[in-house]
């Protein structure tokens, strides 16, 4: 996924009705891009065949 810009992140936040100040927007954009970067290597795993269940097991 390509790097998100502050404009894109600001537009997304506005669409959700979230008030984001200019100072917040810069850091939120870095945080969001950093999270996407960190999860990018997982795309190499065979995750499509795995159901996204929580994994903690049933309550017995």
């Amino acid at each position: 996924m390509s790097e998100l810009t502050t404009e894109q992140v600001g537009a997304l936040a506005a669409a959700l009705g979230l008030p984001v100040t200019a100072e917040d927007l810069v850091e939120v954009t870095h945080r969001l891009n950093g999270l996407i970067d960190a999860l990018e290597p997982l795309a190499a795993l065979p995750l499509e065949t795995i159901e996204p269940v929580t994994g903690q097991g049933p309550v017995s």
């Binding site: 850091e27 950093g34 970067d37 997982l42 994994g55």
Partner: protein, 475 residues
């Protein structure tokens, strides 16, 4: 004074025994902790709210019960404190936020009812990172400080729960662990902290972060104390439909049975990986050798996905948290601490494809951990990649996407695997750095097998005096 300090640092179980033997009065021990809070907490900031009148009233009732020869609960007369995330009837419950500064619940959380029912005496409500999220830049109710070095981080989110136990500002405490929030402060403050199996302990009356990971958990100066607190709070609660009906065993019963015949897997990526500090690595590997000398079989195992656990956790738990806070984020955003607000805003914007990828990776990670535990009774690794860092290290704005992993994901990858998989895990002191900061060993067990986790931790703990050391300035 020396005798008073010695009394304050006794284990909760020892205090309960002295109360039962009428060697110590509940009023005397409660006053002792209240005096210590008064004297030491201005600097440590473990507490948000102290309830001296209510505590002394409970203590007087406890004393009367002893003198009447009534049947006493297992924690009768033991003064404890609780993370300010748990509801307490008539006592304000802030979740560490200005948004709830004046919130006074009308009902106790189930965990509080159960601890009080076991005879414990509530001293007050403990400091935490705002809404148990972590990353708070300016604590609304005072900066919590590590008693081993006041310039260092006490860990979070149950910061006060770790500080108060380490500095003997209570006999034991209750925290809440979504992604390490009991084990991290236990690790940084040099005490014992247990994350029980998810669903083992009721979440009713605790402010939520992530429904599938939130777990109340005890902290104490000894493993035995933690076992007894778990005994008091574990079990099905009709007020929490996701709490388990599985029978609750007697956790303290087998504590002295040793580790002979236990198979323990040392997780290579977290113990010897490049992110693990040399002093932490050396202490944890020495702990593994100690358990081997005591009869356990130690094998190194590889779980390559675990270093990604911190990012997987934040994609999922933070999204849950963003859902919890969505209304307030839209209407009261400025009232949040800057760090909390930016974390929740980020989580609100995570693309669905990324969240799905994280959810599938969580399932894979859970499967891998369960497979590892099929061949081993326990998994072993450090609780954190390093000892408590300076408070200043977690401060300041993020100025680049490249800073994010180092600030948020690395340390969480040590504590979030058990959280993502719903497994029980304990943090136990395993030494000190050259600078005098605590180091911590983590043991992860199978679902609902807290008994084995506690037994191995107790066996290890009994070989050393780590838990009897006292922080400077806490005398």
């Amino acid at each position: 004074m020396t005798a008073d300090v010695d009394l304050a640092f006794l284990s909760a179980r020892r205090i309960a025994a002295l109360v039962r033997e009428r060697a110590v009065s509940p009023v005397e021990i409660t006053r002792l902790y209240l005096d210590r809070i008064d004297r030491l907490d201005g600097e440590l900031r473990a507490y948000i709210t102290v309830v001296p009148e209510a505590a002394l009233e409970s203590a007087r009732r406890a004393e009367a019960a002893v003198l009447r020869g009534e049947a006493l609960g297992p924690l009768h007369g033991v003064p404890y404190a609780v993370k300010d995330q748990f509801d307490t009837a008539g006592v304000r419950t802030t979740s560490g936020s200005r948004l709830l500064e004046h919130h006074v619940p009308t009902e106790d959380a189930t965990t509080i009812s159960r601890l009080n029912g076991a005879g414990a005496i509530l001293l007050g409500k403990l400091n935490l990172t705002e809404f148990a999220l972590g990353g708070t830049q300016k604590f609304p109710f005072g900066q919590p400080r590590n008693p081993w070095n006041l310039d260092h981080d006490p860990g979070g989110s149950s910061s006060g729960s770790g500080i108060a136990v380490a500095a003997a500002l209570c006999a034991a405490s209750l925290g809440e662990d979504t992604g390490g929030s009991v084990r991290s402060p236990a690790s940084f403050c040099g005490v014992v902290g247990l994350r029980p199996t998810w669903s083992r302990v009721s979440r009713h009356g605790s402010f939520p972060l992530s429904w599938s990971m939130d777990t109340p958990g005890p902290l104490g100066r000894t493993v035995e104390d933690v076992a007894w607190l778990l005994q008091a709070i574990a079990g099905y609660d009709p007020k929490d439909p996701l709490s388990s009906r599985a029978p609750v065993p007697e956790y303290a019963k087998g504590l002295d049975d040793g580790v002979r015949a236990l198979r323990i897997g040392v997780i290579r990526e977290l113990t010897s990986g490049p992110e693990t500090d040399a002093e932490m690595k050396a202490a944890v590997l020495e702990a593994a050798r100690c358990l081997e000398r005591l009869g356990a079989t130690i094998e190194e195992i590889s779980l390559p996905l675990l270093p990604r656990a911190g990012a997987i956790f934040m994609a999922l738990a933070d999204s849950d948290g963003a859902g919890v806070h969505h209304r307030w984020l839209r209407t009261r955003a400025a009232e949040y601490d800057q760090g909390t607000r930016r974390r929740l805003l980020t989580a609100s914007l995570i693309p669905a494809a990324i969240q799905q990828r994280a959810a599938r990776a969580r399932a894979l990670l859970g499967t891998q951990l369960r497979e590892a535990l099929a061949g081993h009774d326990l998994l072993l690794c450090p609780t954190a990649h390093q000892a408590a860092p300076p408070i200043a290290a977690g401060r300041g704005v993020i100025t680049s996407r490249h800073e994010v992993a180092g600030r948020f994901f690395t340390r969480r990858s040590y504590v979030t695997p058990a959280a993502l998989a719903g497994l029980p895990a304990i943090a136990v002191p395993c030494g000190f750095t050259c600078a005098g900061l605590p180091l911590s060993l983590q043991l992860i067990g199978r679902h609902f097998d807290e008994a084995t986790v506690l037994r191995a931790a107790h066996t290890y703990e009994s070989q050393f005096d780590w838990s009897r050391r006292r922080p400077p300035g806490a005398a």
